[in-house]
Amino acid sequence: MDCYTANWNPLGDSAFYRKYELYSMDWDLKEELRDCLVAAAPYGGPIALLRNPWRKEKPASVRPVLDIYSASGMPLASLPWKSGPVVSLGWSAEEELLCVQEDGVVLVYGLHGDFRRHFSMGNEVLQNRVLDARIFHTEFGSGVAILTGAHRFTLSANVGDLKLRRMPEVPGLQSAPSCWTTLCQDRVAHVLLAVGPDLYLLDHAACSTVTPPGLAPGVSSFLQMAVSFTYRHLALFTDTGYIWMGTASLKEKLCEFNCNIRAPPKQMVWCSRPRSKEKAVVVAWEKRLMVVGDAPESIQFVLDEDSYLVPELDGVRIFSRSTHEFLHEVPVASEEIFKIASMAPGALLLEAQKEYEKESQKADEYLREIQELGQLTQAVQQCIEAAGHEHRPDMQKSLLRAASFGKCFLDRFPPDGFVRMCQDLRVLNAIRDYHIGIPLTYSQYKQLTIQVLLDRLVLRRLYPLAIQICEYLRLPEVQGVSRILAHWACYKVQQKDVSDEDVARAINQKLGDTPGVSYSDIAARAYGCGRTELAIKLLEYEPRSGEQVPLLLKMKRSKLALSKAIESGDTDLVFTVLLHLKNELNRGDFFMTLRNQPMALSLYRQFCKHQELETLKDLYNQDDNHQELGSFHIRASYAAEERIEGRVAALQTAADAFYKAKNEFAAKATEDQMRLLRLQRRLEDELGGQFLDLSLHDTVTTLILGGHNKRAEQLARDFRIPDKRLWWLKLTALAALEDWEELEKFSKSKKSPIGYLPFVEICMKQHNKYEAKKYASRVGPEQKVKALLLVGDVAQAADVAIERRNEAELSLVLSHCTGATDGVTADKIQRARAQAQKK
């Protein structure tokens, strides 16, 4: 343990840098790295290698091969390169490999060497060829910047949403810049380039000359420049062997270092981390690696092999043919704890725990020391934090053990931080494993978030690990397990060598009814791969019909879509499919399809009722639904037809239909209506006035009101109006006319089938008491009391009621005894009642 800080190198007074091995590479490279185009994705991402035969004078006879490895050197893909010469490789934020060809075409490959798409960087680039290209990352996504043979720059800040921008020209530029880079300031991408002793900054509008403040004189050329991971800092390497470090805005100088090496470095990258004490740059030459910062001395490493630097958020990864290392500034917590002779609380706690394990009483001394200073909480937190920054599980464990030990002596120490760190470390150790090969540091992991990490695992097809992590972290199913299963299923449907049945079954077995899994998405993917049958099989598992239908329509399985829509009970969905079908099929087939789907048929009928009446008729015709057909024509006779002949004709069609429907009643009634219509027409011609469209009843009434009693009688006979109703009709009409004489004659024409009470009522309604009284005497005994009361003859009503010994009638009369003269009557009734009771 004493040698724990052996690999710590001090830079200046405050900071230490350490370099440790992540993996020993197992990729068995045949070429030297320097002969290849190399691209390594940040955040422990994959490494792409393309043997670059185009750089050599003579083209090689063998085809170049594009190899993709994990960060641990596990091969992910290998494919012969069949396209044109490639100038530059780079990874996008989504871990897609962008290969920039000489002609400005960018080919996009997946992690597994699967071709995704391609796009061109424009005509200008095509004409002038690509001289150099960079892939850079901004907060919007990944961008591509291109330097053309005409020394002009073209860039796109986001390849996902390709918008090409041609940067302004640098005045008087004759040769290629000695070095250049992209900057990202205020959400806009710029290009910084060096030509001889001059620096130019290109934004979209203009080209401006910039001068780094405090640059030592005598510079005639810039050999290398580097922007930090966060675009905040810039480093420049001059031909005088000086390194200038400052802000990316070129407004402030941080420091300067003279390394006394004039050879151009192979790579220069920033090595810093969020809140780092020291800003440092790592410079690599063929055999030498140098870490320089604001200190008179630099840290130097010897490179045994050809190496490649990958800047990270909190350090630099360095890989060569045999090893993969990580170089970073030692985090504060680790420094405090492990620094030689550190008295920091964390260091003491670690010591205390070790002594405790040795069963030494020194444990108590250390602990007491911390507690006396009141720093135990801080000590625990330091240990937890330092554990996060350790790469080796044994060190993580020992720090966590110390933290857990210290926790015992604290009241109410919130356990969340400790628990979360344990969980995070388990996840990190799992993904750092050689087979997985994602060497994320704790800071990178937090920056990346678990969701993105899961996506990356899915991208690497590490489904079981991803699911285990979700389950371990207890992520909600919809965000976690379900999503991963869905991805797995989408990958599964692309396996062309497996039969549809097997794929569908395998997917359903795994996914079952897992909530949040969209079978339709998977099916859509299957359809996208040209596996329609599989898509249909998968859709069977989709519980939401609303999701099934659109895809089925897209796949031209309209009939299946129809039955699914019907199953869903969503009328809107059914209509959508129906209209789709209607356009797709000819009319006959369409109707036949409907016929087998009663629900759809009835919905379509509804639709037609509002929108397409003619189609409705055809539908009824096809179904031999004569009853509805009849109704349809009846409606037409009222709505569609104006002329009387047309209306009668429509009615005739309706009547025929009703006969066919064996609805005698409706048929006869329709025929009656036809007769009536013709008759009304004749009446209008002969008598004038309005008859059309009156009901039979009203026609007769109108005739009586017009004094055409004969015709009225005739009509009533022709249409066999029942006697009772005819009497009511006549009574009402004559009373309305106030033709009392005729009314009386009518009343005496024969015995009234409706009695005479209605006569009394109607006379009273017309305020003719005189006439009313005439009829009151003729009212039958059952209703006599009522009639007498109506005409106001309370006394006589009382007599009748008493005679009939009807209790209800007696009370009725009594309730009418309100006038002053009715006192006698009331008494009479009371007496009669009393008498009745005695009996």
Partner: protein, 539 residues
Amino acid sequence: MAAHLSYGRVNLNVLREAVRRELREFLDKCAGSKAIVWDEYLTGPFGLIAQYSLLKEHEVEKMFTLKASRLPAADVKNIIFFVRPRLELMDIIAENVLSEDRRGPARDFHILFVPRRSLLCEQRLKDLGVLGSFIHREEYSLDLIPFDGDLLSMESEGAFKQVANMMIRMKREFTGSQNSVFPVFDNLLLLDRNVDLLTPLATQLTYEGLIDEIYGIQNSYVKLPPEKFAPKKQGDGGKDLPTEAKKLQLNSAEELYAEIRDKNFNAVGSVLSKKAKVISAAFEERHNAKTVGEIKQFVSQLPHMQAARGSLANHTSIAELIKDVTTSEDFFDKLTVEQEFMSGIDTDKVNGYIEDCIAQKHSLIKVLRLVCLQSVCNSGLKQKVLDYYKREILQTYGYEHILTLHNLEKAGLLKPQIGGRNNYPTIRKTLRLWMDDVNEQNPTDISYVYSGYAPLSVRLAQLLARPGWRSIEEVLRILPGPHFEERQPLPTGLQKKRQPGENRVTLIFFLGGVTFAEVAALRFLSQLEDGEIRASFSQ
């Protein structure tokens, strides 16, 4: 503001707040001043959830009714259409939008579908070439409109049958995407109106039922003739009588109404007169108030008392209006006939009263209701009787009503008796649909709402609660449509022990509408059974 919704055990105010919030969110999406173009049908339901003031707060400056041709001019940035997803409405909107483009400054169009977005409608808008004109196209799921503390309405026409199956499907579809919520309802009873066609045909005899029968209650508002509501104060005597109909909102927020709405109308009068005495006594108190403290206390109660007096005056007027109708001889005759039918007397021959009604051309609705009632109470009419009625109706009211009659036949309201068997007496006896001894003042059975007839639907609900439907399987076989029960197991963790004294809450869903009398009967039941029952219906 909507306190009447929070009374029940299941707080429906939450629902109201949720729909209000959704509305506000939508309005805020369309920045700037707005005008709303209303599908007229929606104004009623919307009135129940959001007053104009709420809309105004969100920069709604103008409101129009959706009409063909041009939109009225309005200086607003946004035009929002609130519409049902109907194709004919889409045509109007398209016309509006197209005629708009040719004039003045461009305005943003939005469309809010209530209650569902419809692919079909969007397709139509696309066909008409205006779909692109709409910036926001959203749906507003105003499915269940809270009417009252225990009543929800879907206010929609033509709901689907076979809802039950669908619900089981839905359960499967939504699992996972929804958080597990502690269920507030224990039982759900879905009743298809087809099972009980009788109840809506009979005249409702509760106070609220009669208001609906005579004046019609829409979206909890009723419009009444103004004469009775003329201000009675002397000073106003010179003014003209109001000519516009008096519009009143009716819900349980009004204390008095809550008390009398479900009573048989015959029991309302005594309550009103008792109330009148209490209120005038309360006003008399002021003479007894001697000390300042007493006077202060009296004054503090004044607003409440005045509100009570106002409410009493309103309901006394309404009761008078109704009484005029119910004491008429014709109302009595009609009721007699209805009750005869429902108790199974002379349902198989032509009824003289109906004949007379037709002969005197009484309102067709009344005649049809009676004829249908007779048909239902006789398991269909004899062919001869049916044809006679039909012929009489056609001759009197006009031939075009052959379509009306046909529709009634399709709905099963009017039909010939098949097989010569009348099942109604069996149903009536088993379910005790007709009760001879009805106590209208202090009811002991739900039959009081129709003064004798116990609504079949509610009786089914009652029997389901106790003792269960197994006892009436015979009858269930006779009733139209299949019946089934489905138990939904709760996820473990949501199950909890029922507290003693806590009762089951049952949600009753009427597919095809419910009458106020049925609601009254259900409320009565829930008091009787100590269980809470909620009614919900779609029209």
